[in-house]
């Protein structure tokens, strides 16, 4: 799927590729850790920055927004929703949900094509 690099007028967001990139970032940062109040700020910041860096390295003409939420597992309910007003043929989103024993992590990637 990755070699399918269409020209400027036919760009499609490759959600699978983005999914893999983000999953690797989360694993490398949270992989074996337990929820820690002191470290969580630094984790969320690192996850979004690393994911963004890898996405940009793909070299496609897209603007990206990456958001990450890390929540301690304690029985609380959490709901998220998002709505987008864009060009559905070229723009796209991808959400990665990850968890371990002590925390949940949800990362959203939104990719918006740049019109040249």
């Amino acid at each position: 799927m990755e070699e399918f690099q269409p020209h400027n007028d036919e760009m499609i967001f490759n959600a699978e590729e983005a999914h893999n990139i983000v999953k690797e970032c989360i694993e490398s940062i949270l992989g074996k850790a337990d929820y820690s109040h002191d470290k969580v700020n630094q984790w969320t910041a690192t996850i979004v920055e690393q994911s963004l860096t890898h996405l940009v390295k793909l070299g496609k003409t897209y603007k990206y927004i990456v958001t990450c939420a890390v929540m301690q597992k304690s029985g609380a309910g959490l709901h998220t929703a998002s709505s987008c007003f864009w060009d559905t043929t070229t723009d796209g989103t991808c959400t990665v949900r990850w968890e371990n024993r002590t925390m949940n992590c949800i990362v959203n990637v939104f990719a918006v094509a740049i019109i040249l």
Binding site: L55, K63, L78
Partner: protein, 113 residues
């Protein structure tokens, strides 16, 4: 800040967007207590209401609106976001709202076309 609208103001105006979001939240969940069965419909209605008010502004922007509602129960929640865009024209705005039983965090991103 609102008079800065001489026909075609194409910048992301944070105050304007922040008010739109606050009204959408108040309208959807203001005065309600956390209820598992209703939360799905609340988050959906907050994002849809916000998005439709933003598009009514008629500016040449693409928008992304996200909403998180969390029950107040002592759990820690941290969120972060990172954006790769054009700093001069694009922007975002986050509104944090809470009542006795829940937190609501809504973020709107606007990207100039």
């Amino acid at each position: 800040m609102d008079e800065f609208q001489s026909g075609e103001e194409t910048a992301f105006v944070v105050d304007e967007v922040s008010n739109i979001i606050k009204e959408a939240i108040e309208g959807a969940i203001g005065g309600n207590a956390y209820q598992h069965s209703k939360v799905n419909q609340w988050t959906t209605s907050v994002v849809e209401q916000t998005l439709s008010q933003l598009t009514k502004l008629g500016k040449p922007f693409k928008y992304i609106v996200t909403c998180v509602i969390m029950q107040k129960n002592g759990a820690g929640l941290h969120t972060a976001s990172s954006c790769f865009w054009d700093n001069s024209s694009d922007g975002n705005c986050t509104v944090r709202w809470e009542n006795k039983t829940m937190y609501c965090i809504v973020t709107a991103f606007g990207l100039a076309i």
